[in-house]
Subunit: 155 residues, 2 copies
DNA sequence: TGTCAATAATTAACACGTTAATCATTCTCG
DNA sequence: CGAGAATGATTAACGTGTTAATTATTGACA
């Protein structure tokens, strides 16, 4: 019953206990459930992250937004063109530092988040029901702990 | 000391406790340490996964290899061209089913794995030292458990 | 047996990941 | 002040992620 996902004849291979691959597999399984929602609203997973971060912090420059949304600056640079053309964000030279670009959510961008969030929360709740709230919280704690350990190494 | 990675002024935001993002962040932090090695040998992370799977199972078709290496078939289809041109794998029509492509590692492909593996293992060991072997094993167990739960849902 | 559905692989199109290089602006400090 | 270093953003180039459409082969079954 456990290990029922090894249905490809590979059994417990070396790659099966690799941390990067395990993280990838779980992430895929989770995202599988969100993708149809995002797709139905015409946003990618990454665009959704950018919009949500801008809702939390209303004015960010490219570097800060990239870090907060876990994107590399070149990816963000490309994306913002499209998001601005679609009227979801605005870009402007930052006051006081001409190198920085100041990014903000428009009313339309905010409205999109408002529209999608309830369904997104429902999917999260569904996952919590399937996996168990405790198990998810424990996993999040472990992930944060591992991240801290790696961040503090060689600091 | 803990939470020291929140250095961007966002503190504990909603995105900070999202499972997909947490998985992404940890994966990035881990891969950061492997990337220079792979790059120095001219293979991407995905190519490395493909070669390693083929070392574990010497003859696979596209579908089985894609599943085992966590790639989508179109990505694998593209990659195999390059890997074959570089002499790391061979492709051939499968005997008995003309739709299938049979993929195998060449001697050169096997040699590449042999060359890279020691350094890769050293990096894994380094990560285990930093994070702690127990913590990593616990994380792997939790990841597997969550994967099982999601796999068995709606089955 | 011949037709149609199912399966395996590929191709196409568009978006993102990654590294390196480039451009513009600001900062440093003599 | 002014030259050069540092910083923020962008562009370029190539590989992968993702979905949809297409091609080739096999399988099912009347």
């Amino acid at each position: 019953m456990a290990n029922s996902h090894y249905t490809d004849g590979l059994s417990l291979s070396a790659t099966g206990r690799s941390l990067p691959i395990a993280l990838l597999r779980v992430r895929e399984k989770v995202m599988e459930r969100f993708r149809p929602l995002l797709q139905s609203h015409g946003v990618t997973e990454q665009q959704w992250r950018v919009l949500r971060v801008l809702r939390e912090v209303p004015d960010l420059d490219m570097s800060a937004l990239a870090k907060a949304a876990n994107l590399l600056p070149p990816s963000l640079s490309r994306m913002t063109k499209g998001l601005e053309e679609r009227g979801l964000i605005t870009t402007a030279r930052a006051a006081g530092d001409g190198r920085r670009t100041s990014l903000r959510l428009t009313a339309n961008g905010s409205a999109l988040i408002t529209k999608v969030t309830p369904e997104s929360s429902a999917i999260s709740a569904e996952i919590e029901t399937i996996v168990g709230r405790d198990k998810i919280q424990a996993l999040l704690d472990q992930l944060e702990s591992v991240l801290d350990a790696l961040d503090n190494a060689k600091a």
